[in-house]
Symmetry: C2
Subunit: 428 residues, 2 copies
């Protein structure tokens, strides 16, 4: 048996504590699987005294994560601090320079500095691994980078922020409005310190940017992504979408189009009987489409101590086994700059609006859509007691440009009693 694989772990929050627990609990299992022992040499965290329900006295305590990262007696630096800048970034950079393999769960860091870090790691001949950065316990990085390596990938899609999915399914199930459920999620501790990261779609966007780089062999380009969060989703939309057979999900979608690489994170309608439509609470799902394999769907917990620590451990086991794959599936210097698609691909849209209740109102709206080249798949006008009539329209496939034009033209008909809400319907 080879000499032990020695870890230095920075960050002992939920995930870090979970990793320590697995190393302690499964020492024999890990040794048998890796062919060498896994040991923790040193740890670093904000507070040495906090009760984590863990025995950490056997490990050296290091105040400075950067000092931990470069210690001579560690082989792998495990970064579980978080954040795209600051000490997390400094420690990862230092570890790479010191020739250490790095395992991180830090999606913001990868989405922001992934290219530079991957180039640095590959120049030093070390691994930079980040299974836990995307979709928690679901081993989607491995599936995409290795399991589907014989495929040209056409589309990557998924629900990758459990908090948003919790909020949307809770609104749906309880008939509650966004503000109420947001407050519930906050009280349950489901939200990041800056909740915009979750509900603004940024966290899901970080994850999609990482997946897109691997899928398409392109440089991580978080800046090129269209991002919209769930803040404007109303209980009315959730209920009306359900009435038409749909659920609203915060979907990340990356796909190749004739106009370039389309990457967007936004609320979308999906059929309620589809696997994505049925995804409840904080569960994540990633759908991968390859030219040979067709569609593969992966479902699991997207967050939490156990699932995230499971993903971190799979990276550690890979390093222990000597598995070395380029950070994003091919050498970082060969990753191309993707041309960003200048508009999203055509789609069906859900349109909700209120019309003045007078003869010809609906006809005017239908005419505007027709003039913009948008044909109507289904339309419903609901009974009402107030002086405006709620109308729902599901269009056939249309471009976003045509849709925006139609919505602008609707304003000048004089029959709109509210700004129309438009939500993309994604094909699953």
């Amino acid at each position: 048996m080879s000499r032990p694989l020695r870890l230095g772990i920075a960050g002992l929050g939920t995930v870090g504590a979970g990793v320590v627990r697995i190393v302690q609990r499964h020492a024999a299992l890990l040794s048998a699987r890796i062919g060498r022992e896994v040991t923790i040499r040193a740890v670093s965290a904000r507070s040495q005294d906090k009760d984590r329900g863990l025995r950490i006295g056997d490990y050296d305590w290091v105040e400075d994560p950067v000092a931990l990262a470069i210690r001579d007696d560690i082989d792998v630096f495990v970064e579980l601090i978080g954040g795209a800048e600051g000490v997390a970034r400094a420690a990862v950079e230092a570890a790479i320079r010191a020739g250490k393999d790095v395992v991180t769960a830090n999606k913001a860091l990868l989405a922001t500095h992934g290219q530079a870090l991957a180039e640095a790691a590959e120049a030093e001949g070390v691994c930079l691994r980040f299974e836990a950065a995307v979709a928690g316990g679901i081993p989607v990085i491995k599936v995409l980078t290795e399991g589907l390596a014989g495929n040209e990938i056409n589309r990557v899609m998924g629900v990758m922020n459990g908090t948003c999915n919790f909020i949307l399914t809770r609104m749906q199930d309880a008939g509650l409005d966004y503000r109420t459920v947001f407050a519930e999620a906050e009280a349950l501790g489901f939200l990041e310190a800056d909740p915009t990261l979750d509900v603004g779609g940024i966290d899901a966007g970080h994850k999609l940017a990482i997946l897109a780089a691997i899928a398409f062999g392109t440089r991580v380009d978080f800046g090129a992504m269209e991002i919209e969060g769930i803040e404007r989703i109303t209980i009315e939309d959730i209920q009306q979408a359900a009435d038409m057979g749909y659920r609203i999900k915060l979907l990340g979608v990356a796909q190749k189009t004739g106009r370039g690489l389309e990457t967007r994170t936004s609320p979308c309608l999906v059929p309620m009987d589809s696997a994505l439509g049925q995804l409840e609470n904080a569960t994540n799902m990633v759908v991968l489409e390859g030219d040979a394999v067709g569609q593969i769907a992966l479902r699991g917990a997207g967050a939490g101590e156990g699932p995230t620590a499971s993903a971190v451990m799979s990276d550690i086991v890979d390093i222990g086994r000597g598995i070395r794959v380029p950070t994003f599936g091919k050498p970082a210097v060969e990753l191309t700059h993707a041309r960003a698609a200048n508009a999203s691909s055509p789609a069906s849209y859900y349109l909700r609006m209120a019309l003045e209740d007078r003869p010809g109102a609906l006809a005017k709206i239908a005419a505007v859509l027709g003039d913009s080249g948008i044909s109507i798949d289904r339309m419903r006008q609901y009974g009402h007691t107030d002086p405006t009539a709620p109308v729902l329209i599901v269009t056939h496939k249309a471009t976003k440009t045509a849709l925006d034009q139609a919505i602008a033209a609707m304003a000048s008909t004089g029959v709109l009693a509210s700004e129309p809400v438009a939500i993309r319907i994604e094909e699953t």
Copy 2:
């Protein structure tokens, strides 16, 4: 860039042709991902002249797969012949002895001789890889062996024979009986030459035996598995199960119990709104449960040229990248003999029977169940025109022993008009 990875491919049926097509179509993509070129040096198949829609003139043609397997100019022997014995086995054994890495899609070979082959491969220091042997394009071997390597696995479960799932969903959707749909499947070419491999549950059993070895660190033990096929499933059961909120699926389940390792492949009821319950047609799904990760579900095509070739290619790419993991996740000589559980774990059961239509009949059946310690969750007696009354019972959890005793005792009540049908309800 290193020297090319040279393949010898034996078997140019659907899967073999698919692998050749990917190597030809994606030469540049594969080189970029592996860091070296993939080339096919030699092929072998039954007929050299068959039109496969492929250019194979550039490859040496070898009549004897065993001769192909040991050629000096190949690095990887790709066995796509099939069958647990005969030339497939001989060629794989020869390749291992000759120091070649081996990739195979042969579940029967692995389920029957996996232990000996793994020991031989590990003694020679070569890889034996078989992603395509289980669940087609779903990279479940990789997910289980590597992606969840930090977990103690508690249960592996899945629908892993597409033909059976096609037959069951077609019966359900069209209201057709088993014989009719079996004939349809045969006409569509969905069945193996020996259809018992499919409908008898043997193919699904082979796959489960392989997964169980990886999941639990035990020797492949196909002989210890309880296997029951779908031949006895009637359209009545499918419809009545639906009426109670269930679908019937051919499920493979492997789990640790206090009484040993339980491995079985059998028709089971699952909730119709569960992911397994909603699995349609030939699609496969594997559910993996680990102590840290919780439940992970993987869905995709379980067969067909593209998906299976995708899995074969992922093994080839891994070998090209230098990824070397023990065949079943830990050294073969360390795999333990599992103690087979002597009975399946307690479960709820679905019971369908016809009773003589006379006072007290139902009471007698209920009394028998009560005497056997089995409590009733739900019971329905249906309206009827013939002189017997159809009755459905869903029990609370009971052991198979208690259930068998109850069914035996029902016979002596004199009120049964038909042999009761009992089907396990699996928790998803």
